[in-house]
């Protein structure tokens, strides 16, 4: 039997030897990091190893699928090796937090892959989009590798209360004497992570039901529509406070409550834009062909309503962010001692009276990310709408 196709799997013929060696090196590195932990925490090390293997397989498969140039390969390999080098320099920290190292590596590689694949588009992107992308990249990297780059522990009390900015505590300390810089880094991880998960969930629920309502019409549309009306009739902040008081403020319930409340807005948008697409001839042609509902939703409608949904995603993400911070400020959001930007503003608010801007830093972190996300969404919309200038 001849094996013409097999040479192409895993990078194959087109892949230069550097890429294979780089990938092997990374694999080996992660192996060592997790093996170090076997003595401390066997299960986590085993799961981590499996995960690392899985990731390598996915990365290599993807590697062979994107259209590559020598320059692209060099970028991916260099970025990967640089990360490994950094982790090797901070060996103690990297081996103490193997999961963060793995996630950091995954992020670095995903970004490099994406950059190589979409380089053509990226090169033409306006400065604002670049700003947004870099902001998001920084936030993502910081969130992924928080324990490695943070100088102290998240809840560790390391000094006196309200210490000033110094070499020891870059941004001073907070009301309990915890390092502000460290808290800011961990806060990014918690707040951004939860906000992103919530928004994604809201879009899954709202988007899917919205398209479904538009595609099926009739009673389903009516039932879903009225249900959403009822949910929207109650001021969402009050409603969230009410539910959270009942079910308690664990992070999963926080995510679920906000996601469901936000899904109502997404439902309305998804339904409205889908309505415009459902009446077009190609949807009629597909249903005459006998296609099922799932095909209609996934292949005919969804690709055509993606641009407005993505725009809404950017906005919604920011709203969820503010919603979360608002809840935290009122004490019903992410619970202490977990670091969170919203409650950090509240805890240190007294400092503002002394003319210290430190409590505004978490607020600024929220603002900058919000702007960055919207710049990127604007750019995407501009491209999707086919406007050239």
């Amino acid at each position: 039997m001849t094996i013409p196709a097999s040479s192409n799997t895993f990078g194959g013929r087109a892949s230069p030897w550097v890429s294979r060696i780089a990938m092997a090196a990374v694999h080996f590195f992660i192996l060592v990091i997790f093996l170090q932990n076997v003595t401390v925490d066997t299960w986590s090390a085993v799961v981590g190893l499996l995960f690392a293997h899985l990731y390598s397989v996915v990365a290599l498969t993807y590697w062979s699928k994107i259209e590559r140039t020598a320059a692209g390969d060099t970028v991916i390999v260099t970025v990967t090796l640089e990360f490994v080098l950094m982790a090797a320099i901070f060996w103690e920290r990297a081996s103490a937090w193997p999961w963060s190292t793995l996630f950091g590596l995954a992020m670095v590689q995903i970004c490099a892959f994406a950059a190589v694949k979409y380089w053509k588009d990226l090169r033409q992107a306006p400065a604002s989009a670049w700003f947004g992308l870099i902001v998001i990249l920084i936030y993502v990297m910081v969130a992924a590798t928080a324990p490695i780059i943070a100088p102290y522990g998240e809840t560790e009390i390391v000094g006196s209360e309200y210490d000033v900015w110094s070499n020891k505590h870059l941004l001073g300390t907070d009301n309990l004497g915890r390092d502000m810089f460290t808290r800011l880094i961990y806060g990014g991880r918690n707040t951004v992570g939860i906000a992103f998960t919530t928004t994604l969930l809201a879009f899954l629920i709202g988007g899917l039901t919205g398209i479904l309502a538009a595609a099926v019409r009739g009673w389903l549309d009516q039932v879903l529509g009225r249900l959403v009306d009822v949910l929207m009739a109650i001021p969402s902040f009050i409603f969230a406070l009410l539910i959270l008081t009942i079910v308690g403020t664990s992070i999963p319930s926080l995510i679920m409550v906000i996601a469901v409340l936000d899904a109502t807005r997404v439902f309305r948008l998804a339904r409205a834009v889908s309505m415009n697409v459902v009446v077009l001839d190609f949807v009629e042609a597909a249903s005459l062909r006998g296609e099922g509902l799932w095909w209609l939703i996934r292949s005919e409608i969804l690709p055509n309503i993606l641009p407005p949904l993505v725009a809404e995603f950017g906005l919604r993400f920011c709203f969820v962010f503010l919603f979360l911070s608002g809840l935290s400020f009122l004490g019903l959001g992410i619970q202490p001692p977990t670091a969170d930007w919203g409650s950090m503003v509240r805890d240190n608010a007294t400092l503002i009276t002394y003319g210290d801007i430190t409590p505004l830093l978490p607020a600024a972190a929220i603002a900058i990310l919000t702007i960055g996300v919207n710049f990127v969404v604007d750019w995407f919309l501009h491209k999707a709408s086919g406007l050239k200038d």
Binding site: L280, A285, G290, P303, K388
Partner: protein, 552 residues
């Protein structure tokens, strides 16, 4: 034309040059590079003269028409030449001075009046906007003027029609209201951009004669853009034939129609000559599709009344009638989108389920449809490969290489280069190419009957003829039956074996082509037939005289 001096105020007589575009070059931007799309065209227009611009889509007609207003679309720019309008060079004029001219001295009538009107305002409000804005007359005067123009344009209920919203009047009326709007400031020049293309023949006549009369009455110079040589020969004093942004031929209308100099012009003139060879009489066998006593309604509004017709294998049945006559509803009943309230549809002698949801996959496969607007009939986010490949997968279970080979075959069948087109998105195709993809998608299902719903009406004539030839070739090769829905008699003459004439949801005449097209006609058939523009510059005049002689 020279004797029409009513209202022309203190303007120069016909003869003075009003517009002189010299060496006009326009560039369009795509893929970050500027490409020239109009290559140095000269256009001169005298007062009171009507100039016809004709050519296929992409010839640069509309671009030149807009340039006459000193305007370039988004992503376009005027890169060379001069546009002298009454002594001012519009190519160099400031935005402010252009704004002064537009609407007051130069006006524009767009192809789709329905899209050009703002649906949120009443017609008369939109009419008054320009004269009031330009400070030419106060609102009250503008309103009475509007009513006067509505009279002249023979709009029904001219006193009150202005107080309706755009969706409350028909397409033909809207197009005339738009012409009135363009006339509001008594401009020196009006640019008509395919004003009748979206209308059916019977309405087209009303709009054409209304436009022509009003232009003559006010002695306005006009640029009339169209791809229909027969239409332009009714309207224009002089014709310019354009292709790919170049001037092919220019001349007086009569001279050009009678004795075209260039090959391309002759092609345009000859476009309606395609005729199908008549096929044999149908065998006495069971018809492939039989519609029996079908009535149908949208909600409570009845649309079809007891309609019956047969379609035999290898035959083309043309269904003709103006918009609203129930042609497309008939197609919806046959495909099962609209279950009939009475009667039934039989396929090969077997009754078809009224709703398409209840029909078997095989029933659906054998009956395919091609739509009027290729732009909306294919998913803009799918590549040609998946558009054509999907029916292959779905109906015939083809996968992988089998499927790709068949897609290639189908692309060859519709005369598109497989390697070049298979991975394109619809946005990268022209209108004619999109329609070919729609045909390929229908063919992929290996159907026996294809319903063609106005498949050529959104296309240029040259392209339309190629599509008709393609469909004909496919019928000969694959033995397909067609149900051809159209309002264009020329198409019917070209392709039909049998004709069904519909009016207000009823069949008024049906039979073999020769029988229906030769007298004596049903009076409605007569009206349809006589409304098709002919290549004779006197046709409209003669027709109007003829029609005014006999009481309606």
């Amino acid at each position: 034309m020279t004797d029409a001096t009513t209202d022309s105020q203190s303007r120069d007589k016909k003869g003075g040059i009003i517009l002189d575009m010299h060496g006009l070059r326009i560039e369009g931007r795509s893929d970050e590079i500027w490409h020239e799309i109009v290559h140095g065209v000269n256009v001169t227009l005298r007062r009171g003269e009507v100039l016809g611009l004709i050519g296929e889509s992409g010839a640069g007609k509309s671009t030149i028409g807009l340039a006459a207003m000193g305007f370039a679309r988004d992503g376009c720019r005027i890169s060379g030449g001069s546009i002298m309008f009454d002594g001012v060079d519009l190519a160099k004029a400031s935005d402010d001075s252009l704004r002064q001219l537009r609407g007051s001295r130069i006006a524009y009538v767009a192809q789709s009046a329905a899209a050009a009107f703002n649906p949120a305002h009443r017609l008369i409000d939109q009419y008054c906007e320009a004269p009031v804005q330009h400070g030419i007359m106060p609102r009250s005067e503008a309103e009475s003027d509007a009513i006067d123009l509505y009279h002249r344009l023979r709009l029904p209920e001219p006193e009150s029609i202005g107080f309706r919203y755009p969706h409350q009047v028909s397409g033909g009326q809207l197009q005339r209201a738009m012409t009135a709007m363009a006339m509001a400031c008594r401009p020196d020049l009006i640019v008509f951009d395919e004003p009748t293309t979206a209308l059916d023949v019977t309405t087209q006549i009303e709009v054409l004669s209304a436009i022509r009369d009003i232009v003559r009455q006010f002695d306005t110079a006009a640029i009339y853009i169209t791809h229909d040589l027969a239409v332009v020969s009714q309207m224009a004093d002089r014709i310019m034939v354009l292709r790919h942004g170049n001037l092919i031929e220019e001349g007086e209308t009569r001279g050009m129609i009678e004795d075209p100099q260039k090959e391309y012009t002759r092609d345009l003139l000859a476009v309606r000559t395609f005729r199908k060879e008549l096929s044999d009489e149908p065998d006495a066998e069971i018809p492939l599709l039989r519609v029996q006593g079908v009535s149908a309604a949208y909600g409570k509004v009845p649309v079809l009344h007891n309609v019956s017709m047969d379609i035999h294998r290898r035959r083309t049945v043309a269904v003709v009638g103006e918009s609203g006559s129930g042609k497309s509803t008939m197609a919806r009943v046959i495909t099962g989108l609209l279950p009939p309230s009475q009667g039934a549809v039989y396929y090969d002698g077997q009754p078809l389920a009224p709703s398409h949801r209840r029909r078997s996959k095989d029933d659906k496969r054998r009956l395919q449809m091609i739509y009027q607007m290729p732009d909306t009939a294919i998913n803009p986010r799918q590549r040609v490969r998946s558009i054509i490949g999907r029916p292959l997968e779905f109906y015939l279970g083809m996968r992988g290489e089998d499927r790709d080979a068949r897609i290639m075959q189908l692309l060859e069948m519709i005369e598109l280069d497989p390697d070049e087109f298979i991975d394109r998105y619809p946005g990268e195709l022209s209108g004619g190419q999109k329609q070919r993809i729609c045909i390929a998608r229908a063919l992929a299902a290996e159907p026996e009957l294809i319903i063609c719903d106005e498949v050529t009406s959104a296309l240029d004539q040259l392209v339309a003829e190629e599509i008709l030839k393609l469909l004909q070739r496919l019928q000969d090769e694959l033995g397909l039956a067609y149900m051809f829905i159209t309002h264009d008699i020329a198409t019917v003459r070209a392709v039909a074996d049998e004709i069904v004439v519909m009016l207000q949801g009823e069949v008024v005449e049906h039979g073999p082509k020769a029988e229906v097209l030769s007298p004596p006609h049903h009076e409605y058939t007569e009206l349809l037939l006589s409304s098709v523009p002919e290549m004779d510059p006197d046709w409209l005049d003669n027709l109007l005289v003829e029609r005014s002689d006999q009481p309606a």
